[in-house]
Symmetry: C2
Subunit: 454 residues, 2 copies
C-alpha cells in the first residue's frame, strides 16, 4: 500500500519555537511610536500584551525558544498534525510533481490559529493574567482563543464585528460553546464603541472598531491582556511548529520541498510552514522557493508598498515597517475573511524585500475552483483562505506537467470549511464574483501611508 | 509527557471486517418477504443492493471477510483514526475511571458514516455499477456517500427530505462540493414523488418518501443501486474496523475496556466500536459491558418491543426482526437526526435480546450539557448524536467516583458538530426542550407492528 499520511507521535512535538529574527541576514526595521517616532521596546507593550509575548516580539538573538512542557502537553490534543501526500490530486492533474500538504485543519478550532492561541493563553496564565480579549471578524481566531482560554481557565471576551455576529451565527456559537463571552462591536461596553454608536446608532461595525474596543478593555481592566492572531512576530514564532514538524515528516517521506506554499493574510500560517525550511536557504544555500498566495482583491505583497504604516484602520497602533496597501484600504468582501488585511507582518515584509520569498495573487473564483478539486480528490473541504494556497499549488504542479519536472511541492492546509459552506454554495450556484482593484484605487490608499513616511 | 493519543499507521488499517453473524450464539431470525412470509435470500436483494453487500447481509459463516487492498487504500486518507485518553474530562469530573474515546470525527465527511460509504461504493464499482443513490435527512450519510462516490468515479443522486434541504443548506452544499446531485424529496422525478406532490403540492417530505424515491430510482435505472447508511448487517460489518483498530490501540495503552459506549440510531456506530470487543465476551468469557445510548424521545431499545416490523415508514421493505417502536412512530424533532429511527438493526436486536448489551435513554438537554463539557475539556465539539454517548459515559464515570472503582471506559465519538452549531446555539440560549413520550403513545404505534406478527 502506498503511504499517504506521515504521522509523528506526541513525543515528536517540537520542544522549541524557531525564531526567524535571530537568523535572517537583515533584521526588521524598528517598530515606531507614531507620536515620538522613537523605536518601541518590549516594556512599552506590557500594558497591552503579556510580558513573554512582548519580549518574544523583540527577540532578535535567540534562534530557539523553549516550549514549556505544559504548553507542549496542550498541543498534544491535536499535534503532531499529519503530513499527507496528495496522490489523487497529482493523478487528476496528471503532474509529475509530488504534492504534500500539512493538515492543520485537524485542530479542535479547525485551523492553525490554535497554535498561537494556546501559547498566548499559556503565557498569560503564567503571568497571573485572568482575562484575555481580542477581536474577530470571520471568527477563526476568536474560536481558537476561546478554546485556548477555556483550557487554561482564563475568562475570554471577544469583540465580534456586528455584521459578522449577525451573519455568522455558527462561529459565534462555537466560541460560546468553548465558554467565551461574545459582544457585537460596536458596543456600549467601551468608550470607543459608545462614541461610534452615538454618532451612528445603525453602525454595522468594522475590524478597526473591534480592535479598538478589545484594546480598550485590555488596558482598562485589571488582569486583562489583548491578544492578536496574526501579523506580529511572536504569533509567527508560535506557528513555526508547523514547519518544524513538516521538516521531520518530509524526511520520513524521503523528500525535501522545492517549493513551499501557503495562503497569506497577515502571514501567520505562511510563516509557520515556511520559516523552518527557509532557514536552510539562509544557512546552507538550499534553493527552495517560498510562495505566498494572496487574494487578487487584497494584493499587499504583489502590488503594495514597503513602508511604515498603522496595523489598524483607525491608526491607533504603533507604526510597523511592512508591505501595505494603506491602513485605510477596505478589502472587498471575499469569503476568505482571514486574508482581508491591508498589511504583511514585519519579519515577512523584510524577507519579501530581501528576496527570500515571492507572492502570487489569486482570484476568488479560481480559489474555489481549486478548493472543489481538492475536496473531490483529497476529501477535505478547504477553508476559503486555504483554497488560495491550493490554487497556487495547482498552478505550480501544472507548470511541472508542461516542463516534465518532478518537483516536490509542500503547501499548508490552514483550515477546513465546515463553517464556511455558504461560500461554496455561492460558488456552486454560479453566484460568486471576482473583485478587481485598479492601480488608481490602490495608489489612493497607499498615498495615505506614504504621508506617514515623510 | 503523559500520552493522550494512540496512533496507528496506515499499515495497521484492518485487513478484514469482523462478521458478528458468524460468532453470535443465536443467529438472527430470518428477514421475511411481507407478502409470502418466506425468508429472503441474498439474490432477492440484488436488484436493490450491489451483490457483494447483499451477500454480506446473509453471511452467517465467515467470521473474517477480507477488505480489498483498493478499499484499504481509500481508508488510508483518514484511517487509522486516533484513540484518545480524555484526561481533562476525567479530571474535571474527578473520577478515578479512565476514559478513552475513538475519534471518528476526523473522517473527511465528519463522521463514521464514511467507513461503510466507501465500502458500498467500492463494491458497486467492482460490479460495474455506474450510479448510486440514497436518501438523507440530517445529511451525514448523504455527505459520506457523495464523497465515496466521487472517489470511485460513480454518479451519486441523493434524495434529501425537502424540509432539511431548505433548513440545512450547508449539508446540501457539502454533498454538492463532493459532486453529488441533490434532489429535494418529494420530487417529480419518481412515481412515488409525483403521487405525493399531486395529492399535496405543499408536502414537506419525509424520510419514508425519500427512501421510496431512492429505491424507485435504483430499480428503474440501469446500472444504479440503492445504498443505506445504518441498520443493515453489511453496514454494521463495515463499521467493525472502528473496534478492530480500537482493540489494538487499547493494547498500546495497556488497558482493556470494562465498559464500551456508543450512541444508537440504527446501530452502525455502536456495532462498529462494540462487536470486536464483544466477541471476547462470547469466546473468552470477558465481562465488558456494552451500553447503547439512545434518545429518550426515541427509546426503541429501552421501551420498544422485539418483533417483526418494516424498516421504513411506508411499509415497502421486507419485514425485519427487531426492537421497534412501530414503523409509524414519528420521533420528535430532536437535533440528533441520526438517532431518529424507530428500529434497531437485526443483529443488534438479537444481541440485546440475548443479554450481550444494554441500553440507556438520554434526554436531549442532558446530551448537550455533556457535549459542552466535552468541548471545553477535550476541545472537540461533538455531533448531537455523539453527545448521547458522552452523557452515558459521564454517568458511568460519576458512578465510579461514588464507588471509587477505577473502571476503563471506551466510547465512540461518532462525529463532530461543525455543521450542527444551530443546535448548540439553541441550547446555549436556553431555548432547547426535552421531549417525553408516554407509554400510551408508544403502545399505539407498537400495536401496529404487533399486527404484523400474528
Amino acid at each position: 500500500m502506498r503511504q499517504k499520511k506521515y504521522l509523528l507521535g506526541e513525543s515528536e512535538i517540537p520542544t522549541h519555537f524557531f525564531n526567524m529574527q535571530a537568523v535572517m541576514p537583515n533584521k526588521p526595521l524598528p517598530i515606531l511610536n507614531p507620536a515620538t517616532r522613537e523605536p518601541l521596546k518590549a516594556e512599552d507593550l506590557y500594558p497591552i500584551f503579556c510580558e513573554e509575548c512582548a519580549n518574544q516580539e523583540f527577540n532578535t538573538t535567540d534562534e530557539w525558544i523553549p516550549i514549556p512542557e505544559e504548553l507542549r502537553q496542550m498541543y498534544a490534543s491535536y499535534r503532531c498534525t499529519p503530513l499527507v501526500r496528495a496522490y489523487d490530486l497529482e493523478e487528476t492533474l496528471g503532474t509529475p510533481a509530488h504534492i504534500y500538504f500539512k493538515n492543520e485543519s485537524v485542530s479542535p478550532a479547525g485551523s492553525h490559529k490554535l497554535n498561537s492561541a494556546l501559547a498566548q493563553a499559556y503565557y498569560a496564565k503564567k503571568q497571573g493574567i485572568t482575562n484575555v480579549t481580542t477581536e474577530t471578524g470571520a471568527g477563526q481566531w476568536g474560536g481558537a482563543l476561546s478554546y485556548a482560554a477555556s483550557k487554561f481557565g482564563l475568562e475570554c471576551a471577544v469583540y465580534m464585528v456586528k455584521v459578522s455576529y449577525e451573519q455568522k451565527p455558527y462561529r459565534k456559537s462555537i466560541m460560546q460553546t468553548f465558554g467565551a463571552a461574545i459582544t457585537p462591536s460596536p458596543s456600549m461596553s467601551t468608550r470607543a464603541g459608545k462614541d461610534i454608536i452615538t454618532a451612528n446608532p445603525a453602525d454595522n461595525g468594522s475590524l478597526g472598531c473591534a480592535i479598538s474596543e478589545a484594546i480598550e478593555l485590555a488596558v482598562t481592566t485589571p488582569g486583562c491582556r489583548y491578544t492578536l492572531g496574526s501579523v506580529l512576530n511572536h504569533v509567527c514564532l508560535h506557528q513555526s511548529i508547523i514547519g518544524l514538524e513538516a521538516e521531520k515528516q518530509m524526511e520520513m517521506a524521503g523528500e525535501y520541498p522545492d517549493i513551499v506554499i501557503a495562503c497569506f493574510g497577515g502571514g501567520s500560517n505562511f510563516s509557520g510552514i515556511a520559516y523552518p525550511f527557509m532557514r536552510h536557504n539562509m544557512k546552507e544555500g538550499k534553493k527552495t522557493r517560498f510562495i505566498a498566495a494572496e487574494p487578487a482583491s487584497c494584493p499587499k505583497l504583489t502590488r503594495g508598498k514597503f513602508e511604515y504604516d498603522f496595523a489598524d484602520e483607525a491608526g491607533l497602533t504603533p507604526l510597523l515597517p511592512m508591505y501595505t496597501l494603506g491602513h485605510k484600504f477596505k478589502p472587498s468582501s471575499i469569503h476568505a475573511g482571514g486574508l482581508r488585511y491591508h498589511g504583511a507582518g514585519v519579519i515577512l515584509s523584510q524577507l519579501m524585500k530581501d528576496g527570500f520569498m515571492e507572492a502570487v495573487d489569486i482570484e476568488q473564483t479560481e480559489s474555489f475552483k481549486a478548493g472543489i478539486l481538492f475536496a473531490r480528490t483529497e476529501g477535505i473541504i478547504p477553508a476559503p483562505e486555504s483554497c488560495h494556497a491550493i490554487a497556487a499549488t495547482i498552478a505550480e504542479a501544472l507548470k511541472c506537467k508542461e516542463t516534465g519536472e518532478k518537483k516536490t511541492i509542500l503547501f499548508n492546509l490552514s483550515g477546513h470549511a465546515f463553517v464556511d459552506m455558504a461560500a461554496y454554495d455561492q460558488y456552486i450556484s454560479g453566484q460568486m464574483q471576482d473583485y478587481s482593484v485598479t492601480d488608481e484605487e490602490l495608489q489612493k490608499f497607499i498615498s495615505a501611508a506614504d504621508a506617514l513616511n515623510r
